[in-house]
Symmetry: C2
Subunit: 137 residues, 2 copies
DNA sequence: TGCATTTCTTAGAATTATTCTAAACTGCTT
DNA sequence: AAGCAGTTTAGAATAATTCTAAGAAATGCA
C-alpha cells in the first residue's frame, strides 16, 4: 500500500472528464483538488504551481482552468471587474465577497431560498442563479 | 416651455452629485439618463457619444462612468469576466444575464426574497446582495 | 515495443479592457 | 477679463487573457 502510485485519482478524474491526463494538468489538478475547496485566479494558481516540481506556463494554467471549467470540474465566479475566480466547489452554493480585500467565501445554498424571481426572458432557460452577498470590513 | 434651455436638468444633477457639469459629462449624462434605464459598457457608451455633436474621448468615458458610479448615479454590475456593465437603474433590483448574447435585463427586487443567508464573516457588514439569474437561449 | 497521429505545452506576440501621463483646455470665482 | 483648479485628451502604459507556431508528449495501433 501507501505511496506506490502518486496520483491515479487525478489522472482518472481528468480522463473521465474527457481530458488527457498530462503532467501539467495532473499537477494542477492535484493543487486544486487535493485539499479543501478553494478559490483561485490564474495568477495565484500559476504562482502555486511554480512551487511544484512540475513547472507550468501561465498559458497552460489559463488553458487548464478553462478546460476544467468546461468539463464541470470548476466553476467560474465573476465578482470583480477584470479578474476571474475559479471555485473548486461545483456544488450548489453561493458567495460572500469581501469587497475590501477581494476575498471570496462559499456558503451552502441548502438553506437559501430565492423567491419571486419573474419568468425569464422569452426563449431563454435558466442555467443558474447566483447570489452574491457583498460585504465590507 | 419647450426646448428653450437644453439640459439644465443634467447639469443640476451633476452638480448635486459633486461633479462639475462639463460639456462631456453633461453630454454623457444626457445619453445615459434621458430615456429609460439602460445598461452600457465604456465602449458602447463611447460609440453612442461619438454620434453626438460633442465628441468625447474613450478615457473621458471611463472617467465619467467611474465618477458617476462613485457618486451613486450609476451602479456597476459584474456579470462577465473582462467587461464592466453600468446600470442607470440604481434602485433595488436584480438581473437576468443572457449568457448566449451578453445581454442584461433588470427585474425589480420588490417581489424577490432571499432567505436563509448565513451571518456574514466576522467583522464585515453586508453592503449589497446581488442576484444574477443566468439564462441561455 | 515502436512509431504515427493527435493533442498539449510553451514562449512570446497579440488582443482587449482599462488606467495613467503630461499637456492643453474650460468652468467657475473674483 | 484673469487665474486657478479641475477636466479632457491622445497616446503610452498596464493588466488580464488569448493566440500562434513549433516542439513535446500521450495514445492508438501494428
Amino acid at each position: 500500500m501507501s505511496s506506490a502510485n502518486p496520483d491515479p485519482d487525478f489522472a482518472v478524474r481528468l480522463r473521465k472528464a474527457g481530458l488527457r491526463p498530462t503532467r501539467q494538468r495532473v499537477a494542477l489538478a492535484r493543487v486544486l483538488f487535493e485539499g479543501d475547496h478553494r478559490h483561485v485566479t490564474a495568477e495565484s494558481l500559476h504562482a502555486e504551481a511554480k512551487a511544484t516540481k512540475i513547472s507550468v506556463s501561465l498559458a497552460t494554467v489559463y488553458n487548464a482552468l478553462n478546460q476544467f471549467r468546461d468539463a464541470g470540474l470548476l466553476r467560474e465566479v465573476v465578482v470583480a471587474p477584470g479578474r476571474s475566480y475559479f471555485d473548486t466547489n461545483t456544488g450548489h452554493h453561493h458567495h460572500f465577497f469581501v469587497e475590501t480585500d477581494n476575498e471570496l467565501h462559499d456558503f451552502p445554498s441548502d438553506a437559501v431560498t430565492v423567491e419571486g424571481v419573474p419568468a425569464p426572458p422569452e426563449g431563454t432557460k435558466v442555467s443558474r442563479v447566483d447570489v452574491i452577498v457583498r460585504v465590507r470590513r
